[in-house]
């Protein structure tokens, strides 16, 4: 338990204890935000509620996310818990270094091999996107500061990042970081035409046993104004990753199986 557990959650949600004397240089912030995600193993369970632009709320779904994050390799497995229609549907994804993100979907009991998936597909019809969980923007070149802002009750500093990679549907990210808690309070994602695609907003954070601060409640608002509300109800900073945890990523994927955009 003395192991250096990473703050659970996802890119968007992670932060580190304040590094002493760290300057507010954008490169340093990006570096710290990458660093703080590192974990030998974490697990989190969350309730996800979809709120339509009309305000209509769907019944919440429960998922679990397990991950292991190091500089060289980053792996995540998302599992549907409830209700029945998403039960034991999995999405696994990995990324080596700063390379591309590879995702597969599978079912525990299904004999079929994992099917390749698009890392930009929404998870279980929500605004939660596998690609976002990796927060790849923190390794994009030349981040720069965009002035300070206020999100809710907290002050934060905007960090602007962008990529030239035409392959990425997200080309620009503005993340408002609380430099003391290393928590990104608001992350805005834009496409190649500078149109907003979605915004991730932290509503409630908690300090974990390790001292790191993670989001407990956050929301993701899409361009269509549909909102996904996410609440973490259980967490483990010290998850023991077993050999089977990410096995699906090592199984050769069935080819010719196009990603199912409506799914998993």
């Amino acid at each position: 338990m003395m192991r250096r557990g990473s703050a659970l959650l996802l890119a968007l949600v992670l932060i580190a204890p304040a590094a002493d004397g760290e300057e507010l240089a954008p490169v340093a912030i990006a570096q710290a935000m990458r660093q703080v995600r590192h974990s030998d193993g974490f697990a989190a369970r969350m309730n996800i509620t979809l709120v339509a632009p009309t305000g209509q709320r769907a019944l919440p779904i429960k998922i679990s996310i397990v991950g292991q994050i190091a500089a060289a390799r980053e792996r995540l497995v998302i599992r549907g818990i409830a209700p029945e229609r998403i039960r034991n549907r999995f999405i696994a994804a990995e990324r080596s270094g700063d390379g591309p993100i590879r995702a597969v979907t599978y079912r525990e009991s299904a004999a079929a091999a994992p099917a390749p998936a698009d890392s930009f597909i929404p998870i279980f019809d929500s605004n939660l996107v596998v690609w976002d969980l990796f927060a790849p923007w923190w390794s994009w070149p030349e981040p720069h500061l965009g002035g300070s802002a206020r999100v809710g009750e907290d002050d934060c500093v905007n960090v602007r990042l962008h990529t030239e990679s035409a392959a990425s549907p997200i080309r620009e990210v503005v993340s408002c970081v609380d430099p003391n808690r290393h928590l990104s309070l608001r992350t805005q994602l834009f496409d190649g035409r500078h149109s907003p695609v979605r915004t991730i907003l932290v509503e409630e954070a908690m300090r974990q046993a390790s001292g790191r601060v993670a989001a407990r409640k956050f929301s993701i608002t899409g361009a269509d104004q549909a909102v996904t509300e996410i609440e973490v109800y259980s967490g483990d900073e010290d998850y023991r990753v077993s050999s089977g945890t990410f096995a699906a990523l090592d199984t050769p994927a069935a080819t010719g199986n196009q990603p199912d955009h409506a799914m998993p």
């Binding site: 369970r45 429960k62 409830a82 974990q208 259980s234 967490g235 010290d238 023991r240």
Partner: protein, 375 residues
């Protein structure tokens, strides 16, 4: 005719004002009584839960203030603890607040090591216990059965897995009555926390003395860095719910105290201004200044005492109503100890003295010749 009957008479003949004052004080006291009773109830309930389980000490991970306690791998610590003197059993416990089934409020789900002493204090009222560690069944508290509308044989979905309700139990602790209990192994499996627990319950033998428990604690501190051993009483004191509710009751006592004293202050001051002439007469016929003060004190204390006694009744009534409300079921189990109620009465007398102090001084300082001509 004596000072006390005169004080009663003075209050009695201003029924409207006395009524308002007494109601204001009794509301404050009622809030104090209700909140404190509930806070103590929480504490007593946790204490009962611990006592009933027969747990002498619990060992858990040191968590920083305001942090979510996180589960830990039990194995190494458990083995170490088993070697400590007087230790009989070391039993893992994993708990989580989970919503079970759609639309129902979250309940406590406990995982207790199968076959351990923890189960001994539960009284089965219906059905049966699990017959094996991994049998996919749960037992539920009588209150949980009511809240979840489940009975023996029904199915319960917890974290996407189906369990059937094998039995319904009753526990001396309200918290357990509202909980779902399964074997530790099952809990670890559904929560994907294999080998992990929140706390380790330690049961020591009969011969262990308080000194032995203290020794146990320092041994944990010395040999298991990052862990702490707490007696069940200390644990209850550290419980967040208990702490918050106690802090709330303390704040209420403070606010109700201030408001009560102010109300008395205002009432007595007004009454004394109205009765300036009367006080002049009393001084003229030879009343001592301290007798005048005494009269004012008696009146304020009678007011607060009445407020206090009514407040206690109202407070107990409020708590009773809360306890029977659907949303509150099983969450409160208020405790009103006689000594607490005596203390509340004492508090109201203090209010009377505090609120009456300045008016009494003012009354006693009146110059009789001036007071006599006061209209």
């Amino acid at each position: 005719m004596n000072l006390l009957s005169l004080a009663f008479g003075n209050i009695y003949r201003r029924p409207a004002r006395a009524g308002l004052t007494v109601s204001a004080i009794s509301l404050g006291i009622a809030a104090v009584v209700a909140l404190t009773g509930i806070a103590w109830g929480f504490e007593a309930s946790w204490q009962k839960a611990n006592d009933a389980r027969g747990t002498d000490l619990i060992v858990t991970r040191i968590a920083s203030e305001n942090a979510m306690p996180s589960p830990f791998r039990a194995e190494r610590v458990q083995e170490a603890l088993k070697g400590y003197p007087h230790v009989q059993q070391v039993v893992g416990l994993l708990s989580e607040m989970l919503s079970v089934g759609e639309g129902s409020p979250p309940v406590f789900v406990f995982g207790w090591a199968y076959g351990s002493y923890l189960w001994d204090h539960l009284k089965l009222v219906d059905g049966r216990w699990a017959s094996a560690d991994t049998e996919p069944v749960v037992v539920i508290g009588s209150l949980a059965a009511e809240l979840l509308h489940k009975s023996v044989g029904d199915r319960l979905e917890i974290e996407g897995q189906q369990f059937s309700v094998a039995g319904v139990f009753e526990s001396p602790a309200a918290i357990e009555n509202g909980a779902v209990v399964m074997s530790l192994t099952l809990a670890q499996q559904i929560l994907d926390k294999p080998g992990k627990v929140n706390i380790l319950n330690v049961k020591v033998d009969e011969s262990a003395t308080p000194a032995d428990l203290a020794q146990f604690k320092s041994q944990v501190r010395a040999t298991l860095p990052g862990f702490v051993a707490i007696t069940s009483g200390e644990l209850v004191g550290k419980n967040t719910v208990v702490r918050i509710s106690k802090a709330m009751s303390h704040a209420t006592i403070l606010i109700a105290g201030l408001v009560g004293a102010l109300v008395v202050f205002n009432t007595m001051l007004m009454s004394i201004n109205e009765r300036t002439r009367e006080i002049g007469i009393l001084l003229t016929v030879g009343w001592q200044r301290r007798t005048v003060m005494q009269l004012v004190f008696y009146e304020s204390v009678i007011l607060t005492l009445a407020g206090g006694l009514i407040g206690i009744l109202v407070g107990i009534a409020i708590t009773g109503i809360l306890e029977h409300m659907e949303v509150m079921r099983g969450k409160i189990d208020a405790v009103f100890s006689p000594s607490f109620l005596v203390a509340v009465v004492g508090l109201s007398v203090l209010l009377g003295i505090a609120g009456g102090l300045f008016p009494a001084l003012k009354a006693a300082r009146l110059r009789p010749a001036q007071a006599l001509w006061h209209e």
